[in-house]
């Protein structure tokens, strides 16, 4: 697995940005273009953009927390699965362990914030975490889509 992960790190289309909130827009554009090319559809592309934005924002705000670092996103299509890896070199943190806010509580009685991980989760079909060999984190997000007549080339 580490072998295939490293191969994907080497050759899939990948955007790396410095850990600055002003770079989030570039990550979103990158995702949007890649999802459009893959034929994921408007809603699917928007959801992928949302999930990646939340993951990258957390890496920058909570992970790097002002220290220098990078966040990297790579994309690949495997059959009907659009697969995104969000990598960073921040301290290890597994967001799949974050407890979801209780949505049955009226939002007026909740604290603001704490919605990012939940939103990311709701936007994709799979979210898996593993530590990055060499330090940092890899969050893998998968969204299924219908390959509506697009040619396989």
């Amino acid at each position: 697995m580490s072998d295939s992960a490293e191969r994907s790190e080497a050759s899939a289309r990948t955007l790396r940005v410095p850990s600055e909130l002003g770079q989030l827009a570039a990550l979103r554009d990158f995702l949007r273009t890649a999802a459009d090319e893959a034929g994921v559809g408007d809603a699917g592309a928007a959801d992928l953009v949302q999930a990646v934005d939340e993951a990258a924002t957390n890496a920058m705000i909570h992970g790097h927390a002002g220290r220098p670092g990078w966040v990297e996103v790579d994309v690949a299509t495997k059959d009907d699965r659009f697969v995104v890896n969000v990598r960073d070199d921040a301290p290890g943190f597994d967001p799949t362990t974050v407890q979801s806010p209780d949505l049955s509580v009226h939002p007026a009685n909740r604290r603001p914030g704490g919605m990012g991980v939940l939103l990311a989760r709701l936007c994709v079909d799979e979210m898996t975490y593993r530590p990055r060999p060499g330090g940092g984190n890899i969050l893998t997000l998968v969204r299924r889509f219908e390959r509506n007549g697009k040619e396989d080339r």
Binding site: A25, D53, L103, P107, A108, R111, P112, G113, M115
Partner: protein, 139 residues
């Protein structure tokens, strides 16, 4: 795509301040939006319409901005962005009667933004109108 904010005035049954957002609301700019509204409140605005028609993206930090705007427009101590999101407390709104506050209303959310509001339940905090005209009529 950055965030552009434009401000208009309209009169329904009350004077309405309309803040139209264009572009993408994310972690890099949500505090600017809070500051804009803080200033509007200080200048006397009491009823606010956020026009989301041209907002292409809203991150979860945008939800924090909505929460903060609601506090501000209810005259609660404006949150200090420097203190971080954790410093914001839950809203002191009485929701026991099931009523929705009317001081801050939304209009025009497109698919992606609407899904964010719905998925997180934040839509329950606001009256959400399809467009600006119907929103103005509702104030």
């Amino acid at each position: 795509m950055a965030l552009e904010t434009s401000i208009d005035q309209a009169s329904g049954r009350v004077p309405i301040t309309i803040v139209a957002l264009k572009g993408e609301l994310d972690a890099s700019n949500f505090t600017e939006l809070i500051e804009d509204v803080r200033r509007l409140y200080e200048e006397g605005s009491r009823d606010l319409l956020l026009d989301l028609t041209d907002l292409a993206f809203m991150a979860s930090s945008g939800l924090v901005a909505l929460h903060s705007i609601l506090r501000l427009m209810h005259g609660e101590a404006p949150p200090d962005p420097e203190a971080g999101w954790g410093a914001l407390h839950s809203l002191g709104l009485d929701v026991s009667g099931g009523g929705t506050q009317t001081e801050v209303q939304l209009c025009g959310p497109q698919g992606p933004v609407e899904r964010v509001l719905t998925r997180t339940g934040l839509s329950r905090l606001f009256l959400i109108h399809p467009d600006r005209a119907s929103a103005i009529a509702a104030f």
